[in-house]
């Protein structure tokens, strides 16, 4: 887990859609976020404890990612095909929770409002490398990759894969107008909604969808081959 220290950050960006404005400075308490997306191997342990094949938390099997074989063939790929409810259940089982949108975005953009986790240009040259995330590329077979495959794409805090690979469930309901009403300290999303917000873009999206301020609503009851998640744990206040 990576510590994200308390403080303010810039949330939203005018180029990322009306739902990502107004741009505001938001304060968050210290929290910890997992460096990588939750993998097939990690989810497997939860799935066993939840009752295996008969469990409601069984991931959907896709042609290129059959469960539970994926835990052997692709153990370090992000787990996919899980609903928000299953992601949330895993988080509780693991002693954590899903990140709020604000926590996710701060972990991705740092204090200075970067457009992508590594900078303001998608193909920025870093250590001689131009590709920093798993996003759609024509003329290749596209799908998930192992977590941590693009270390140059880490955020200022060192969190990996916040752009591309899989969209990530957050704890918040999706509200198109929410930024107009969000509180300035530790916002936790609207109180009601139809969709949960996913962030980060995925392997089937072009670069722009992987910008750190892009927001998308997805129905929570069903997973997809391009949605995963990561965990957050709260800092313990030592008196």
């Amino acid at each position: 887990m990576i510590e994200i220290p308390a403080g303010t950050f810039i949330m939203g960006h005018p180029s990322c859609g009306n739902d990502a404005t107004p741009v505001r400075r938001i304060y968050l308490d210290t929290f910890f976020i997992s460096k990588y997306e939750i993998t097939n191997a990690e989810y497997y342990a939860f799935w066993i404890s939840a009752g295996q094949q008969s469990s409601q938390h069984t991931p959907i099997s896709y042609p290129k990612a059959i469960w539970p074989q994926a835990t052997i063939n692709k153990p370090d790929h992000p787990v996919i095909g899980i609903s928000w409810y299953s992601a949330n259940a895993y988080a509780g089982w693991a002693g954590g929770r899903l990140p709020t949108e604000a926590e996710w975005e701060k972990a991705a953009r740092g204090k200075h409002g970067l457009i992508w986790p590594w900078g303001d240009q998608f193909n920025l040259l870093i250590q001689g490398i131009e590709t920093h995330a798993n996003v759609w590329q024509d003329n290749r077979i596209n799908g998930t990759t192992t977590v941590g495959k693009y270390p140059t794409g880490d955020s200022p805090y060192g969190v990996s894969d916040l752009a591309g690979n899989v969209w990530e469930w957050t704890a918040d309901w999706y509200g198109e107008q929410y930024y107009h009403q969000a509180k300035g300290k530790n916002p936790t999303g609207p109180s009601i909604g139809s969709w949960r917000t996913v962030r980060g873009g995925a392997w089937l999206n072009k670069a722009d969808a992987a910008r750190s301020s892009i927001r998308l609503g997805q129905h929570p009851s069903i997973g997809a081959s391009f949605i995963g998640f990561r965990l957050v744990k709260q800092a313990i206040n030592v008196q």
Binding site: G81, Q177, L204, A224
Partner: protein, 369 residues
């Protein structure tokens, strides 16, 4: 018996999985704009699993976008049957009833449920307000829309209409004023303002609003005529430029840019078209594009003070201050009597911290005023 149960569970699990795979394929197809394929996959998904509410919803969205209202209503209805708490499906169902099939009563029922669950759902409030107006219930429309408390001009416009119909003329004026403060070129709002002022006995204000309405309507007619003409003959650069100027007057910057771009394409040597395109870029805060335009113009017309000044401003707005100042200095040499150039030099020398030069420029500006 146990074995049969396990086999049955496996079959159900497998078919549910297949439905989820089809749903996923539909999402992927939709994300790549492969609409027919998306429809096919979503339909397969709901055939296997009729309780996949989001697959029904996605179908409803596609049918809405293609104005296939009856099919949209069916799909949203099924989404709600599968998940009665699916607020967005209720909202969309209400929208389809109201906009698509003019069934205001049915629309109101759905929209009321949405607002009861989520009082902050502005779009549902606005539609419910419109439904009440259709049902000749303006008081209910006012009650619903007043709680929206939004600067959104479309909500305020509907509120204005509702207030007008309840004979709350001053309230209607307030609403229409809010509309034109955000959208100064809202033609209908100006007309309704004229009506309200006339009935309030404020003749002068009524005349002003009516005059604005007529001016805007003329512009709208001119725009429509030019667009029709250009649809037939798109090579007329002058017509494009005229269209661009009309859009500039309406502060429709993106449309102006598009029109001037077409003008420049068909007559690239005409400097005035380029100049107006550069101006439209500046208004749209696209300073880097404006810079390219004015750079080209200053190369073609190196003695033009105006183009150098515009180039300087486009550079300054990108915080390229030394480059901007260089252009202003060149412009000053070309015409030392232009006060605007000295004022620009004052502003941007100040920003760079060069107080001495800033002061000199300001003194010269004052002398020339």
């Amino acid at each position: 018996m146990v074995i049969l149960f396990l086999i049955a569970s496996l079959i159900v699990g497998t078919t549910k999985n297949q439905a989820a795979v089809d749903y996923d394929a539909g999402l992927r197809a939709a994300s790549h704009q492969q609409i027919s394929l998306a429809i096919e996959h979503f339909q397969q998904a709901v055939q296997i699993d009729p309780d996949l509410s989001d697959a029904h919803f996605r179908l409803g969205l596609i049918f809405t976008n293609h104005e296939q209202w009856r099919r949209a209503i069916q799909s949203f209805g099924k989404a709600i049957m599968a998940d009665p708490n699916y607020l967005e499906a209720r909202y969309r169902l209400g929208e389809a009833y109201l906009v698509g099939t003019a069934q205001a009563v049915e629309a109101a029922e759905q929209l009321k449920s949405v607002i009861a669950a989520d009082p902050n759902h502005l779009a549902a409030r606005q539609l419910l307000g419109q439904a009440h107006l259709r049902l000749h219930q303006p008081e209910l429309a006012v009650a619903i829309l007043e709680k929206a408390q939004s600067a959104d001009p479309t909500i305020n416009y509907d509120l204005g209409l509702a207030r007008y119909r309840t004979a709350d003329l001053q309230g209607a004026v307030d609403s229409f004023q809010q509309v034109v403060s955000v959208q100064p070129n809202h033609v209908q709002a100006h007309f309704h303002l004229a009506q309200c002022y006339r009935q309030l006995g404020q003749g002068q204000k009524s005349k002003q609003s009516l005059h604005t309405f007529e001016l805007l309507r003329q512009q709208a007619d001119q725009i429509a005529n030019l667009q029709q003409y250009l649809a037939v003959d798109s090579s007329n650069a002058r017509a494009w430029a005229q269209l661009g100027r009309l859009f500039l007057r309406q502060e429709a910057w993106t449309e102006a840019i598009s029109a001037f771009q077409n003008g420049v394409t068909h007559q690239p040597t005409e400097a005035s078209f380029c100049e107006q395109l550069g101006y439209a870029y500046m208004k749209n805060q696209d300073y880097s594009s404006a810079q390219l335009i004015f750079q080209e113009l200053t190369q073609r017309y190196p003695q033009s003070v105006e183009y150098r000044n515009s180039l300087g401003i486009s550079l300054a707005m990108q915080n390229l201050l030394p480059e901007a100042i260089s252009q202003f200095e060149t412009a000053r040499q070309l015409d030392p009597t232009d006060p605007q150039i000295h004022f620009n030099l004052y502003r941007f020398y100040q920003k760079t911290g060069d107080r001495r030069r800033a002061q000199q420029a300001f003194q010269r500006y004052q002398q020339l005023q």
